[in-house]
Amino acid sequence: MALIQIAEPGESTTAHQHKLAVGIDLGTTNSLVATVRSGDVSTLPDVFGEHLLPSIVHYGKEKLDVGYEAQKNSIGDPLNTIVSVKRLMGRGAKDLSVEDMHYSYEFAESESAVPRIKTRRGNVSAVEVSAEILKTLKRRAIDTLGDDLTGAVITVPAYFDEAQRQATKDAAKLADINVLRLLNEPTAAAVAYGLDTGNEGIIAVYDLGGGTFDISILRLNKGVFEVLATGGDSSLGGDDFDYEITQWLAAQAGLDKVKSPAIKRLLMQHSRSAKEALAHQESIEINLEIDDIKWQGSLDRAQLKELLTPLVKKTLMSCRRALRDADVENENISEVVMVGGSTRTLIVREMVADFFECEPLTSIDPDKVVATGAALQADVLAGNKSDEEMLLLDVIPLSLGIETMGGLVEKIIHRNTAIPVAKAQDFTTYKDGQTAMAVHVLQGERELVTDCRSLARFELRGFPSQVAGAVRIRVTFQVDADGLLIVSAREENSGIEASVDVKPSYGLTDNEIETMLRDSIENAEDDMYSRSLREQQVEADRVIEALDAALAVDARELLSEQEMLTISKARQDLLDVKTSSDIDAIKQKIKHLEAACEDYVARRMNSNIKIAMQGHSIDEYTSDSTSDSEAEEL
């Protein structure tokens, strides 16, 4: 019989095998993979010695390329060359309207809530494109390190919401990578700097990447990295710099009316390289040459400053807010860490230095600093350093709450709360004999449901019929160390429970990912179609139920006969199509009914203000709340 070896507590066994774990920076513009080998951390190059992998995927006729190979097709084959896909992660088709002007590829017409990009190799989602980038990095790591990976720490912008984090995890799953932890990019950067220089104190991490801006305020103390506050803008970055410059350049060259994707890409590439060149020189010559167009001109630092100042100011507003959230003044900040390629732009460095009144740290390559920190964390999580003192304490970037009476959001977990965290809130029923309750989970800072991001809806059904107010429903939000949310609800008297891992309504379920792995894209789309249909049918039920409940209470007082007729007609129309499989028709009839009820709802809200002020509620069900967070709620 073999004896089991037991090591002295606190020491690792000599036979302990070093586990291969990597840190991956899945960036908007570039991605990197790094690891710790013999105590040294470094980013891993490809066979040509390149450390950066451009986050570009080309769906070619013969093969699929990622990185520099894909980039070569950016101008020649723009529609099949996907860039900056990170900006689409976790985004629903509805979120695209403003942003998609930055892109010059086409989105597929689809019933699906997830936007899909048309390529010659089929329609692809952002998750699938990201998975291709991750697969490439994984292959690079395995080739370099000579063995399979235990797992990876993948970084995300601190400001990423639930949907975007989930999409990142989904991409890793598709790429068959075991995610040890999703780590916020600024925290990763602080890890890289903190361990190098042994800093203690309060630091700010200013991270301006290609498509996202993050500001984080952290306290460093004896190896513990504590995030005090984080803020930013998940759709502001170097791409917007390039866009501003491109607009200027197009106007200068008289090309601002041109629609050709190839010319747009050319302008963008020139804009980007001009911006990069101005980090080292005062002025840059620009020569445009494509087809029969020829233009020559120059861009200098003063002009660049004028173009970019409004954007940089936006980032400083976020800094101001993060400082206030952290309850810290400018002068308490001992260091400012610069992360992201866009912080190479001089105007950014100058304005940040002015704002924080200190010279920012730039000694680690801003492109590599995040991957470096992620690799250090991966090494710890894989268990290669058993007595490691380092610990990262993170916060949730956006508040989480549920819908209450009148379309308002009741926050249950406030932004910048340390995670993991669990919070419970009690609710009760509104009507006698009510046996079900709908829970609508939202994320965001605004008051109105319509201004927040809808994460999930679920229902708690089948609790015993009692008089209004007797039922006790406890809704618990649990956020794990990755910042992902599980909501559960329990009726305390009967013990009936419901629980959901929050999958945003436009996200992918585990099953869908399986399907995508196995089947063709068409099949996956069918799945999505039937899910959307179910969602619309549930929505229709919800709308009708809510309306009926409201009408029963105060239709007579608040509606004229004519108004009542209009509403009844719209209600009947919705009932007629509800069980059909025509998603559009159901959607449309829901809209009609909602429009018909608009004045009525407004009147109800006015007359209900009194009720709303006395207690909290979900949908039409009021509640008396005995919150676990009294001080915050009041």
Binding site: N221, R321, T417
Partner: protein
């Protein structure tokens, strides 16, 4: 585990005597030491059950730290430990001077946009609220130490008003910032 984390009150958890005047620096240190033992990062390769317990414990630690860090929630928690539930929404009596002060704050908030620099004016208002709060915390602390719990409760009610005013100042600041950001 030397300490039964889930069954300790927030003060015991961080080796503090049960009192309004806590050494936040020591609380912070103790919090970090405990986190080093229980945080999910220490259980990345452990069983699901261990992960779950780790998550529960860390959540509890975070709740404890949040409660003690904020003076109003700390005060409320102290009374809760004494068996007093603070649910004061329906109680409306308040001394007149305090109500006047509240009205003044509301007026200033409503008229904030008339200032040349509304953000700076909000900063000033936030400072005033903070000073008043600090004075009231002194009041709470004394009442609590003298075991005059009705009085202590009264202070918390006032502090909650001020906390609400502070939140409104912050919300308005955020709105103005949003407008400035475009």
């Amino acid at each position: 585990m030397s300490k039964d984390i889930l069954n300790s009150n927030f003060f015991e958890l961080f080796d503090q005597t049960v009192s309004f005047d806590v050494d936040l620096h020591k609380v912070q240190q103790s919090y970090m030491e405990l986190q080093k033992q229980v945080h999910p990062d220490k259980f990345a390769n452990a069983s699901d059950q261990e992960k779950r317990i780790s998550m529960q414990r860390t959540s509890w630690l975070n709740e404890a730290l949040t409660t003690l860090k904020n003076p109003v929630s700390r005060a409320t928690y102290l009374l809760k430990l004494k068996g007093l539930d603070i649910n004061l929404e329906n109680e409306t009596t308040m001394d007149a001077a305090f109500l006047m002060q509240q009205l003044e704050i509301r007026e200033k908030l409503e008229n904030i946009k008339d200032n040349a620099d509304p953000l700076a004016a909000l900063d000033v208002l936030a400072g005033e609220i903070k000073n008043t709060s600090n004075a009231m915390m002194q009041g709470f602390s004394q009442s609590y130490e003298n075991d005059d719990l009705d009085d202590a409760r009264e202070w918390i009610r006032k502090l909650q008003f001020l906390e609400k005013a502070k939140n409104e100042v912050n919300a308005l600041t955020a709105t103005l910032e949003d407008e400035l950001m475009g």
